[in-house]
Amino acid sequence: MKIKEGYILRSVAGNHIVVGVGAASVDFNGMININDTGAFLWKIFEKGASVDEAAELMAKEYDIDIDTAKVDAEAFAEKLEAADLIEK
């Protein structure tokens, strides 16, 4: 799955935020706050990856077991889908 075009992830005063630009800002002119793991996963899904691939990268990066990583990656992916941020 891949995040739609037009959303940028930025760090502002120590906070990770996502905002829409261009055409995306018409659909979404709010802002999302995400935490550090969220930001890590966002960058992966921005390039495009499966939930399993994201979980593997997460397990490596944070030195956690793959099952925990899978739960977190799936939860995050669900949030993205619910917010309509994933390319169909």
């Binding site: 935020i17 905002v19 709010g30």
Partner: protein
């Protein structure tokens, strides 16, 4: 076309209407300098805007859209507008922001009642904010919304405050995360990723230095005192 110094930027501005004729001269400069921003709205553009905005006359349209041109450009210079009423008191600027109609101008009016002539309105609608090496400043500009309350001054910002109406007066400091969302809602959001990144760069600098608060307030003079004391 005349040269103006607005928010420490050289602005070459052309206008014909009454509103700017009244409000722009305070910002004129004789200095020979290279313009940072050139605002020269084409006649066809203005004609189109006048048609689209029947509630505004030609002079008001020119005022609104020259202002938009200015604020769209300051993002390139570490600046942005905050839809707020900015008051100066004892050498510091305090910005009160909220959606239209909440009572920003009413509140800064209370500062003038409570603190007298020492409290001056820097810009009653859209002060320019710029993050510089010497700190974060609020500036008056010729564009101050429905009133002509603006001063050609540059004042360091002590606090940014979002107003909510309430029965009792109270103020609390908020997190930068909360502040970002509130500020983004009361500024011009650039359309392009490049512009948005410049705005967020500036916001990053501002939020590392300036505290942001939420003020719940009524329309008594006490509201001004609670706000001022809460931001020291």
């Amino acid at each position: 076309m005349k040269m103006h110094k607005i928010a420490d930027l050289n602005v070459l501005l052309d206008y014909h209407g009454k509103v700017l004729a009244h409000q722009a001269p305070a910002y004129e400069t004789d200095e020979k300098c290279v313009p940072d921003i050139i605002i020269d709205l084409p006649d066809e553009f203005l004609a189109e805007k006048i048609k689209e905005n029947p509630h505004l006359n030609a002079s008001e349209c020119e005022y609104v859209f020259t202002g938009a041109a200015f604020y769209n450009n300051i993002v390139k210079y570490n600046g942005f507008l905050l839809h707020s009423s900015a008051v100066e008191y004892k050498g510091n600027a305090y910005l009160f922001s909220a959606p239209s109609g909440t009572g920003k101008s009413t509140h800064t009016g209370l500062w003038q009642k409570a603190f007298g002539a020492e409290a001056r309105i820097i810009n009653d609608d859209k002060p320019a904010i710029r993050a510089t090496d010497e700190g974060v400043f609020a500036y008056g500009t010729p564009w101050s919304g429905k009133t002509d309350l603006n001063l050609n001054v540059k004042v360091p910002i002590k606090g940014i405050c979002f107003i909510e109406r309430g029965e009792k007066n109270s103020i609390r400091k908020i997190s930068t995360a909360e502040a970002i969302a509130l500020i983004l809602n009361q500024t011009l959001r650039p359309y392009t990723a490049e512009g948005m990144n410049m705005l967020l760069d500036c916001l990053d600098k501002v939020l590392r230095v300036v505290n942001v608060y939420i003020l719940t307030c009524n329309i008594s003079e006490e509201a001004a005192i609670v706000a001022y004391e809460g931001m020291q």
